[in-house]
């Protein structure tokens, strides 16, 4: 077990280097002027300015040279400076990532808990009204385009009903609590600032719901189908025949087995949402890493692109590793594929 873990962990840096290289190359060979974020349109034809900017940002060197320089700095932990924000990419990520993590964690909490519940109801009461309503709710979550439903919900609950505050992580007038983790909720608790906590939670509610609703969709379906799968297996029939009460059958046997593939999906969903919450971040003006990635991609800000890609890659690889380990723990009979 330990050897397996170690092997997996040791591979990660190499995978990350591979991802970084691909990301770097992709952003270099794409069409588009890499200077577009550095020089305004008006100055494009001014040779002196173009030369100066190119030298300052190292864009006057050849591609292989730039690659080597970039990679050497990368392994030392220097992710370079972003073209768009003019700050070190690490600083940008350190500022933006917690915002997304807070949103994604909240969304996962909502999505998974509702997904488990609804999925179990749907499996237990298959093809009844309960099943259908549960699945309909879940379905809507994964079928509605977020950029449509988000706007509508924002309009209804914030503008019309006033139940939730508007966009952003906090009211614009408010000052964020002292940064410790970057999570406004946790930082507020650490600072003992209850009003700040409530305000941060208030702003978190709607975007977490909108994002989490799509997670509900995935989890419900998965739990339902895995449980149905499990409920059809021999050992369940045996358990029932032995007179086990239904809820034991559901939970100890069916749900347990449904959990395993679900954990994998949950892991991947979490990793995916970190950069995939782009549209939610756009609608709710949430300054997270997804929107950072979009503006980086649009301006061909390659240090930022590679930086965000690495973040996404780390998230994915960690999720991969953790779920595989959890999988192995949950069912030791499963051979760990080399």
């Amino acid at each position: 077990m330990l050897r397996y873990l170690l092997r997996r962990i040791l591979v990660i840096p190499f995978l990350l280097l591979g991802v970084a290289s691909v990301a770097f190359l992709l952003s270099q060979i794409t069409k588009g002027d890499p200077l577009s974020a550095l020089i305004p349109e008006r100055m494009m034809s001014n040779e002196a300015v173009v030369e100066a900017i190119k030298t300052q940002w190292g864009l006057d060197r050849s591609l292989p040279e730039r690659y080597v320089i970039y990679m050497t700095r990368l392994v030392q932990g220097d992710l370079g400076t972003s073209f768009t924000t003019r700050r070190p990419v690490l600083t940008d990520i350190a500022e933006r990532l917690p915002a997304t993590l807070e949103l994604v964690i909240a969304a996962m909490i909502f999505g998974c808990s509702s997904g488990f519940g609804l999925g179990m109801i749907a499996a237990r009461f298959k093809n009844t009204a309960a099943d259908i309503s549960a699945r309909s709710f879940a379905l809507l979550g994964s079928s509605l385009p977020i950029f449509w439903s988000g706007l509508i919900l924002l309009y209804i609950f914030s503008v019309k009903l006033g139940w939730v505050p508007g966009t952003g992580r906090l009211d614009a007038r408010s000052i964020a609590p002292e940064t410790v983790t970057g999570f406004f909720t946790i930082d507020a608790i650490l600072a003992g600032n209850m009003p700040a906590l409530l305000e941060a939670l208030g702003h978190l509610v709607l975007p977490a719901f909108v994002l989490g609703w799509s997670v509900t969709g995935i989890i419900t379906r998965l739990i339902r189908s895995s449980m149905l799968d499990a409920l059809n297996q021999d050992y369940v029939r045996t358990a029932r025949a032995k007179g086990a009460p239904e809820h034991i059958v559901l939970l100890r046997h069916a749900f347990r087995n449904a959990l395993i593939p679900t954990l994998t999906i949950m892991g991947f969903t979490f990793a995916y949402l970190i950069t995939g919450a782009v549209l939610t971040e756009a609608i709710f003006s949430w300054p997270g890493i997804g929107s950072y990635a979009v503006s980086a991609a649009r301006s061909l800000d390659y240090p930022a692109i590679v930086g965000v890609t690495l973040v996404g890659a780390v998230a994915f690889l960690l999720a991969n590793l953790l779920t595989d380990v959890a999988y192995a723990f949950a069912n030791p009979r499963i051979k760990i594929a080399g």
Partner: protein
């Protein structure tokens, strides 16, 4: 009983092979499983069928030109224009229906190609193992590690605007999922007795893979693919929403919602395409679930 025998059988009790939602329907034996599809799956199939037919034939439906200004701009829904008009005075309903001709074929293409590429690679990786497995899975890992939106955006930005390029980007993003799916299934199935029997019987490895293993492995892929069909429509719409998919004035659903978002108070502009996407994705889910249920009962 052979099919012809069954069909000509006049004994009502023996005619239908299983009671399902459609007891009166006569079906050949091979399609008997259709009976087990829940009503939702059938409704879903009808809706998807509608969209497929729409995508293929809408140009002959006599609708107003989706690209031309036909009335005053930003008109609310009325009898003349059931979903009103958009910012350029174009009929929203006509554009929504024509949008199927953009979105549906793309979804079919992307899913089909992703499934084909992914399943092939996954099956090879799962069966042969070794360096093939390593190569395919590492490529899949690296691709999956990429934030999908970022990957799709970068590729689409690299190749230029347009739905074909967006489709290529989506296939690159999607194939690893099917590779993993197929690989996992192959890994499980290849341990089964009848496969060992075939190998012992001297069948070539490729033949064993194609004839004995893969036919048993396509269930999760099929279910996944039907549901992914809807997800591809969503992703294509998202790409268009951020400006990297369809080229205006093409009436692609995502681009229409993007326009609708900027004219939010003219709700009908986004309503048409939004509902279209919703019906497609929901129907796909129903079909997927229904198929799942059928395979469930088949295996038991």
């Amino acid at each position: 009983m052979s099919v012809t025998e069954q069909l000509s059988n006049t004994n009502p009790a023996e005619r239908s092979s299983a009671r399902g939602p459609w007891p009166g329907l006569r079906l050949p034996k091979r399609l008997a499983w259709v009976r087990k599809l829940p009503a939702t799956a059938v409704i879903g199939s009808i809706v998807i069928l509608f969209w497929l037919i729409c995508a293929m034939t809408v140009t002959w439906w006599g609708l107003p030109d989706p690209l031309a200004m036909v009335a005053r701009r930003l008109q609310a829904p009325s009898l003349a224009h059931w979903l009103g008009t958009d910012a350029l005075g174009r009929d929203v309903l006509a554009r929504t229906l024509h949008g199927a001709a953009s979105s549906i074929p793309i979804a079919v293409g992307v899913v089909a190609v992703s499934v084909f590429i992914g399943s092939t690679l996954g099956a090879l990786a799962g069966y042969f193992g070794g360096w093939i497995d390593g190569l395919v899975m590492r490529s899949a890992d690296i691709t999956l590690s990429f934030p999908p939106i970022l990957l799709a955006m970068t590729i689409a930005a690299a190749l230029g605007p347009g739905l074909t390029n967006a489709s290529i980007a989506m296939v690159v993003v999607w194939w690893p999922i099917y590779a993993r799916l197929m690989r996992a299934q192959v890994l499980e199935v290849r341990e089964r007795e009848h496969v060992e029997a075939a190998v012992a019987g001297g069948a070539g490895r490729l033949r064993v893979l194609i004839v004995h293993i893969m036919p048993l492995c396509w269930t999760p892929t099929l279910v996944n693919a039907t549901m992914d069909f809807g997800q591809v429509v969503l992703l294509a719409a998202s790409l268009s929403f951020i400006g990297l998919g369809a080229v205006p004035p093409s009436p692609e659903w995502g681009a229409m919602i993007s326009e609708g978002a900027t004219k939010f108070y003219n709700w009908w502009i986004a309503f048409g395409p939004g509902m279209a996407i919703l019906t497609v994705v929901v129907s796909c889910s129903f079909i997927g679930d229904g198929l799942r249920d059928v395979f469930d009962s088949r295996e038991s």
